[in-house]
């Protein structure tokens, strides 16, 4: 069990998302960096989609109220267990009473903005509509349907999975599957239904330009700033279904990328969609940083997803081997 010590840190309980609920008008929710969440779970021997705490604001502190293993993935935030430094993307063991502190994310080899704290068996909260993710629009799911507060107590789903002495960790996927253009983090994008409505110059500028993630960006969506995108003619549409990753262009020409807490429908024209396999890259991009977009195809998008799944499968295999070997010795 852990007790949240930080006040209003905007942290939430998330799993891989509430998939299949869009038909009821219920958005996806889930981890902004699903790869980090899945990897943290695998380090503990959990199912990939077990619930964890997503931390977007630092410093963040929890106290362990009983002994237990934990895993930390996502941003490298100079974590400490009491006064002992912890490595990023690492599984460790805490004693009752110890305090885990996550500091400000460090730039390092990968600039990320969210950390994931995983516990054995996942965070034990009720599944609602098939998921333990916090649905902030509907005030349900996660821990009491809201962001975590000081004094909240979260229980681990399994008593103890144990971590080998000294712990162990993973090379973060951002270093193994890097994607950059001219040194700027990049995401692959499929052109969407209204792509052709934009002027040739605007389309070219979309791919060629850097897009700044403005301070009006959160789990609902990222508002980007760059060269305004112009449609050749006025595009008027009725509201229609949208999913995380969809890039909408409101009348001002500054795009919005829908993120995990996006509403399930919208009426702005869609220029493109960030592919599912690259949403974690955008989910980790800090406010104020710049990103680039790379035009891709359906086949490439599918193969990128396969590559991500292959990385996870490989991690699962290696972790299981190492845990078995440690248990034997």
């Amino acid at each position: 069990m852990i007790e949240i010590l930080s006040a209003s840190a905007l942290a939430t309980v998330q799993d891989l998302g509430r998939l299949g609920a869009l038909r009821w008008g219920v958005g996806t929710s889930g981890a902004m960096d699903p790869l980090a969440l899945a990897a943290g779970n695998l380090l503990l021997g959990n199912d990939v989609d077990a619930a964890a705490v997503e931390v977007p604001v630092f410093p963040f502190q929890v106290r362990f109220t009983e002994d237990g293993a934990f895993a930390l993935t996502g941003a490298d935030c100079a974590a400490r267990l009491d006064d002992v430094p912890l490595l990023p993307w690492w599984v460790g063991e805490a004693r009752a009473g110890q305090v885990l502190t996550l500091g400000l994310p460090r730039a390092g080899a990968w600039r990320a903005s969210r950390a994931y704290l995983c516990l054995p068996g996942g965070i034990d909260v009720p599944a609602v509509l098939g998921s333990r993710s916090t649905q902030l629009r509907g005030d349900f799911g996660g821990h009491e349907g809201r962001t975590l507060r000081q004094g909240d107590v979260l229980r681990a789903g399994a008593a103890e999975s144990g971590a080998p002495v000294g712990g162990f960790g993973l090379v973060p996927p951002a270093l193994v599957l890097p994607l950059q253009v001219d040194g700027v983090p990049a995401m692959r994008v499929l052109p969407a239904a209204e792509y052709a409505h934009y002027t040739e110059a605007s389309r070219a500028a979309f791919w060629a330009g850097e897009w700044k993630i403005t301070s009006q960006s959160d789990r609902y969506g990222y508002r980007l700033a760059g060269t305004p995108l112009e449609a050749g003619a006025n595009v008027e549409m009725r509201s229609h279904g949208i999913v995380p990753g969809v890039i909408q262009v409101p009348p001002g020409g500054q795009p919005i990328v829908q993120m995990r807490d996006a509403q399930p429908s919208g009426g702005y024209p869609k220029l493109g969609t960030v592919i599912e396999a690259d949403l974690w890259r955008l989910g980790q991009a800090p406010i104020g940083s710049r990103v680039r977009f790379i035009e891709t195809t359906w086949d490439e998008a599918i193969s990128a997803l396969d590559q991500m799944q292959a990385w996870l499968a490989n991690v699962q295999r290696l972790v299981a081997l190492y845990r078995r070997q440690q248990a034997r010795s």
């Binding site: 490298d76 002992v84 490595l87 990023p88 993307w89 690492w90 460090r106 390092g108 080899a109 990968w110 002495v165 000294g166 712990g167 162990f168 960790g169 993973l170 090379v171 973060p172 270093l175 193994v176 990385w311 490989n314 991690v315 290696l318 972790v319 190492y322 010795s329």
Partner: protein, 138 residues
Amino acid sequence: MRIDSLQQLSTWLDDAGIGLLELRGPGVLLRLGRDAADAAAVGERGAAVPHQERGAQSRGVAVNAPSAGVFLHSHPMQSSPLAPVGTQVRAGAPIGLLQIGALLLPVCAPRAAVVTGLRVPHGTVVGYGTPLVDLDPD
């Protein structure tokens, strides 16, 4: 196992840069070390067990590779080494990492000590039992 296979095995160990081979089977216990001192000091669990240095550094201990892998001085996300020469480390602190594919295993200080030497460069492929870090215990 035939006794004349040993020659072949030790040649392979030499070629692969592996310091120690331990083989257990029904009625068989084989322990082949390139350096007699290394072999004698590796404990039952085969973990990173310190061994007494022979010669001048009588107080020093070397920490050996707990597994084959790529020895890293620093975490892949960080540029500064975990324990450069001169660092005071506490017992159990990671002083280096062994990378095996996606996995990172810690090379831990067996006791509180000062790091006095790094035996192999960052990014070197090392075999099981290879001495990696020299420590001077407090």
